[in-house]
């Protein structure tokens, strides 16, 4: 972690503020029965921006992430992607999801398919890409995340870190406009966390728009343009990473940071 921590200033230049934001959530409300999990959420993410979402367990971070590709439908408010409101269930929604890459905490690689097939499947089935082309693309991506030599194995034969990198390659294969990461490293053994964070940092440097739920402060400092702190279903505080970690404004953020720092 030391290599990461000394990079105190965000190394990626903040995205230019020109043009429409890519992802916009306005007045989003979401309930699970009685529980108000997302309350008055307003958030917009610019093209090329990297937003880290942080907050205590149960604060609604995953739900926020999942709402952006409508894995979780919202009760009111509007979410737009590139100016288009999210469609309801159906073909249009499937097309939209192809533009939003998602990486899960539990990897969720297709257990009955090889690593290579995992990466090729989306382009072939959702975008009608030719097999040869999909395969070449998939191999390039696997190369890029450093697991090309595992292409013919089943996911269960890979380490957690390798599986998560395959999951990133699978999402990238769809050439998404934005990538969502829901605690991508929290199911990993400590020695595997960095190999995944490195891939994500490279992605951020290349200008990918990213929403990342993570407690990895090193990553936030190094790659994020903005930190969004959530508590009890609300966005409590937003700031540049350095500002947020060294001078949190709200008491809840201070309290939360003191807890994760002592760990």
């Amino acid at each position: 972690m030391t290599a990461r921590d000394d990079a105190s200033a965000p190394s990626a230049a903040p995205p230019d503020g020109t043009g429409e934001p890519l992802v916009v959530l306005s007045d989003v409300q979401k309930y699970f029965g009685e529980l108000h999990v997302l309350q008055d959420i307003n958030l917009s993410v610019a093209h090329g921006e990297v937003v880290v979402v942080i907050g205590p367990s149960g604060s609604g971070k995953s739900t926020l992430c999942r709402a952006i590709n409508r894995l979780e439908p919202i009760d009111s408010g509007v979410i737009t992607l590139d100016g288009q409101p999210l469609p309801a269930e159906g073909k249009a929604l499937a097309r939209l999801r192809a533009d939003v890459g998602m990486v899960f905490q539990a990897f969720n690689l297709f257990a009955h398919k090889t690593v290579l097939q995992n990466v090729m499947l989306g382009p072939m089935k959702a975008k009608n890409v030719k097999k040869s082309e999909a395969e070449a693309d998939a191999m390039r991506l696997l190369e890029r995340v450093g697991v090309a030599n595992q292409a013919q194995k089943l996911p269960a034969q890979l380490s957690g870190g390798q599986q998560q990198r395959v999951a990133i390659a699978r999402a990238l294969a769809m050439k998404p406009k934005v990538m969502l990461f829901d605690e991508p490293t929290s199911a990993l053994d400590p020695e595997m966390i960095n190999e995944v964070l490195d891939v994500m940092t490279d992605l951020a440097k290349e200008g990918m728009t990213m929403v990342v739920v993570t407690h990895e402060m090193g990553f936030a400092r190094k790659a994020a343009h903005r930190v969004v702190f959530m508590d009890d279903g609300r966005i409590v505080e937003e700031a540049e990473p350095e500002e947020f970690f060294s001078r949190p404004k709200s008491d809840r953020a201070k309290d939360f940071l003191s807890k994760i720092l002592t760990h």
Partner: protein, 216 residues
């Protein structure tokens, strides 16, 4: 014993009919049952309702009643089939499909929700998600219960014997009536014929179960 040996051709005829009834109904029930299971996990409420109602209705009615319906009642309301044989296949398929549906549905539920979420999040439609990701994994856990369902189906074909389809059971009854002195060997012969069909299925089920266990 003579009654068995001298009527070997009748046994053979009944055996083939039972086999054909079983195979046709098994394939039809597999297709129909899988579609019903897809209804039961579909995001569309009316489809879920349809699937659940079908299963509850069909599963809880005696098979004989279904035969009675398809052979005597259905023609009166305009649903005609070319023969009793076809009606028997329909009744057996409709009945067995309800059980197949429940087995496939529990198989679908055994596949983690993460698999379907990952599939949807790379832009696959509901149908593609089911067809490419969930069902292939579900079928591994579903094969053993499915084979049990098909063993029950093999035995259930005997109901067709009561509705003028000349399968094993009908042959057995005819031979038993014609040879009162040989009832025991006649019926043992019929039983053996069923065992010839069901025991290999059971062995197949065990083999598949072991095979699947290794593949994990």
């Amino acid at each position: 014993m003579d009654a068995v040996v001298s009527n070997f051709d009748l046994y053979w005829q009944g055996f083939r009919m039972t086999l054909v009834l079983t195979l046709i109904s098994a394939v039809a029930a597999l297709v129909l049952g899988t579609l019903l299971a897809a209804c039961r996990v579909s995001p569309v409420v009316s489809l879920r309702w349809f699937g659940a109602t079908y299963v509850e209705l069909v599963r809880n009615v005696p098979l004989t009643i279904l035969f009675f319906f398809f052979i005597f009642v259905a023609p009166q309301i305009g649903i005609r089939t070319p023969s009793f044989f076809v009606s028997a296949c329909v009744a057996l398929s409709v009945y067995t499909a309800a059980f197949v549906c429940e087995a496939v549905r529990s198989g679908i539920n055994s596949v983690g929700v993460g698999q379907a979420e990952a599939a949807r999040s790379i832009g696959l439609t509901f149908t593609q998600t089911l067809q490419l990701i969930v069902l292939p994994q579900a079928f591994r856990t579903v094969v053993p219960p499915l084979i049990n369902i098909f063993i029950a189906l093999t035995k259930n074909t005997s109901v067709a014997g009561g509705f003028a389809v000349t399968e094993l059971f009908a042959i057995g009854r005819r031979l038993a009536n014609a040879n009162p002195a040989d009832v025991i060997p006649v019926l043992v012969g019929i039983g053996v014929c069923y065992l010839i069909l069901t025991i290999p299925s059971g062995i197949l089920a065990n083999w598949v179960e072991r095979k699947v266990a290794f593949a994990r």
